[in-house]
Structures are given as C-alpha cells and as structure tokens.
C-alpha cells in the first residue's frame, strides 16, 4: 500500500505540472535525437506516453500499464528500424526522470515518492532496450532469409544445360539450398548438364570443396553431369595447396568454356553463321 500511495501522489504531482515536465522532457529528447525527428513529432509521442504514465501510476486504470508497455514497444521498434541506437531510445525514456527531478527539487517532501517513480521509469527504459534488441534480431533474420532466397538462382543456358552462378560464401545451409534447387530444376527441366560457376565464391577451403563435391555427386545420382567453372587463380592455388581433388569432375576456367564443353558433350557445336 505504501508504494501505491506514493505512486498516486507522484501521479497527482505529474498531472499538476504536466506542461512544465513535458516541455523540459521534450527539450531533453529533442537534443538527443539530433534532428532525426521533428519537434512536433517528438512532442506528440511524449504527450501520449506521459498521459499513459500518469494513468498507469494513478492505479485506477487496469489497462493503462499494458497500453504503456505496448506504446513503448511500438516506439522502440520504429526507432530500431529508423537506425537509432538502443541507448538513445532508452535515454529518451530516462530523461523523463531528469525533467521531473529538476522540478521536484522545489518540493523536498516528494523525494521518497520520486524514488519509486524512478524505479518505474527504469523498468520502462529497460523494456525499450529489450524490444529494440528483439526488433533488430527480427530485421537480421528477415534479411538473411531474403539473402538466401536471392542467392540461389538456377538459370537455363541451353536445351538440357543449366547453370548455377554461386555468389558469396558457401556454408552448409546454403549448399543444401543450392543442391535442392539444382536437383529440382534438373528433374523438372530434364537437363543433363549443370554448370556450377564459382566466380563469386571468395574462398574455397576443404569444407566448401566438400559441399561442391556433394552437390556434384547428388546430381550424378540423378543422371546429370556437373562442370565446375570460374575458379580464380588464387582459388586454384588454394585448392592445390590444400590437396583437394576434384577427381573426374570437369573443371573449366570460364563459364564460356564450360558451356562449350557441355554443348560438345550434348553433340552440339557453335560455329559462324
């Protein structure tokens, strides 16, 4: 009951000095955002939050606490997407304490109440921090999914010849995806030659080579032959010094050579018209 009454007193105080506190809070926050949001926008956001804080603290409104958390979550999430640092968002919330403290210096009898109030605001600040982290994680997860989807095209070069231009680092998850997509395309299109172009793969170590060999083996099981091309000079040196053996898999310097090889295997020849 002690805390409740102290919260109630604080809520009354905040309601009484609403304009002054919001004004000061707004100044502090605007200084922090350094022109990334307009003063009017900031003020509107803070006014909403402020009235929710009062409602939550006066204890008469059951839903207010939930609404306050939801509003802060939303604010923090939108700031995360707009590139604010999490500390900036949290400091924005914490600066409400500064604004109130400056005023309360003139009313010493409220200092114990201020202590409880301060705890509440700390919790809210931490909430924005957590939400911020969660929102960023979500963004990262979305981006990596998008990258996965973008990074594995299988293109048709000719009747019965498909190519997979590999760009970026090959890890197990990506190899799996590339393998599945390639095999499905082979089955769907009836292609029996596949060109794996690794021009865009920055490094080839034993693990990447293992992944490539697996893909080639799986394609062979379906009855399709793979040609690896686009091995850059440095990559070739690494492959040889690591002792990686591509065995009887055809390797060519460029995509053009690989296509010519696949065409000749299919019994076709490109000549002057």
């Amino acid at each position: 009951m002690e805390i409740d009454s102290s919260q109630g007193r604080m809520a009354d105080y905040l309601r009484e000095h609403q304009d002054k506190v919001i004004g000061r809070w707004c100044e502090l926050v605007v200084a922090g955002v350094r022109g990334r949001s307009s003063v009017v926008e900031v003020r509107r956001e803070l006014e909403d939050l402020y009235s929710l804080v009062i409602r939550a603290m006066s204890g008469t409104d059951e839903q207010a606490a939930g609404e306050l958390r939801a509003a802060l979550t939303e604010l923090s999430r939108s700031r995360a997407r707009n590139g604010f640092a999490p500390s900036e968002t949290a400091l924005g919330v914490f600066s409400l304490k500064d604004a109130v403290y400056e005023l309360i210096a003139g009313a010493p009898e409220l200092v114990p109440d201020f202590f409880a109030f301060s705890r509440t605001i700390d919790d809210l600040g931490l909430l924005t921090f957590e939400t911020y982290a969660a929102a960023r994680e979500q963004i990262i997860a979305d981006q990596s999914t998008a990258m996965m989807e973008l990074s594995t095209p299988v293109v048709r070069l000719w009747d019965g010849i498909v190519a997979v231009p590999l760009v970026g680092t090959l890890d197990s998850a990506r190899t799996q995806l590339v393998m599945e997509k390639l095999l499905e395309t082979l089955v769907a299109s009836g292609a029996d030659h596949a060109v794996l172009d690794i021009t865009g793969v920055p490094t080839v170590d034993t693990e990447v080579a293992q992944h490539l060999l697996k893909t080639v083996n799986a394609a062979r099981l379906l009855g399709a032959e793979c040609i690896i091309c686009g091995i850059r000079p440095q990559v070739a040196q690494t492959i040889v010094s690591l002792g990686i053996e591509f065995g009887d898999i055809a390797t060519k310097a460029t995509l053009a050579d690989a296509l010519a090889h696949a065409l000749s295997r299919t019994g076709l020849k490109v000549g002057p018209a």
Partner: protein
C-alpha cells in the same frame, strides 16, 4: 511381401519399383534379377525408382550391388528417375553408386544403353 516385376523389352530388363521398398522385397528383387539375367542374357538393366520416396543405407547398397551383379552377366545397369530428396539422402550417407550409371528418366536411360551397346 510385395514383389517387384521384371519386364523384358528386347535385350533390356526393365524394373519399375512402384512400392515402398522393404528390406525383404529388395533382397527378393536382387535374387529375381540375377535369375532373369542368367535366363535371358539381357545386355542392359533399367531400374526405375521414380516412385521411391525414401531410401536408407541398406537399399542404397543393394542398388549398387544390383549394378555389380549385372556387370558379372555383362549387362549394364542404369538407375533412372531418382528424386532429388533421395539423391541428397544417398549423398549424405556417402553412397555415390559408382558402379551404376544414372539417367534422369527411362527414355534417357534407354538411349544411354543403346548408345553404349
């Protein structure tokens, strides 16, 4: 136990597996295939596994063994119609079926046999 039929088309034996493979039916198939190869003196075997959705290491090894057995009768084996998921499983199991030739579908498998004959 279900049995897999072996059809003779000219000098080729055609095995189309349309059931979920159990260990015994694969063993039985292998025996039947050896009998038919000896009896018909076929030059090629086509094993169609389009309908096979699941393989394990045993079935993978039996497929490879059927290839080896056929070679003893001087017949070439072509495994056709493997599904991507099956190919990935066999690769992960480390079975590359070196002794068996593969083709995307039965038509290409037949072409492969006639080309090598």
């Amino acid at each position: 136990m279900e049995r897999v039929p072996i059809l003779k088309l000219g000098s080729t034996l055609f095995v189309s597996i349309q059931i979920d493979l159990q260990d015994e039916s694969v063993v039985r198939l292998q025996e039947d295939l050896a009998d038919r190869l000896a009896a018909t003196r076929a030059r090629g075997v086509i094993i169609d596994i389009t309908a096979v959705e699941i393989v394990d290491s045993f079935i993978g090894r039996m497929l490879a063994m059927m290839g080896s057995i056929s070679r003893l009768f001087d017949a070439e084996t072509v495994l056709v119609g493997m599904r991507p998921a099956v190919a990935i499983t066999l690769t992960e199991l480390g079975l590359s079926l070196r002794g068996v030739r593969t083709a995307l579908n039965a038509e290409k498998g037949l072409k492969l046999l006639s080309g090598s004959a």
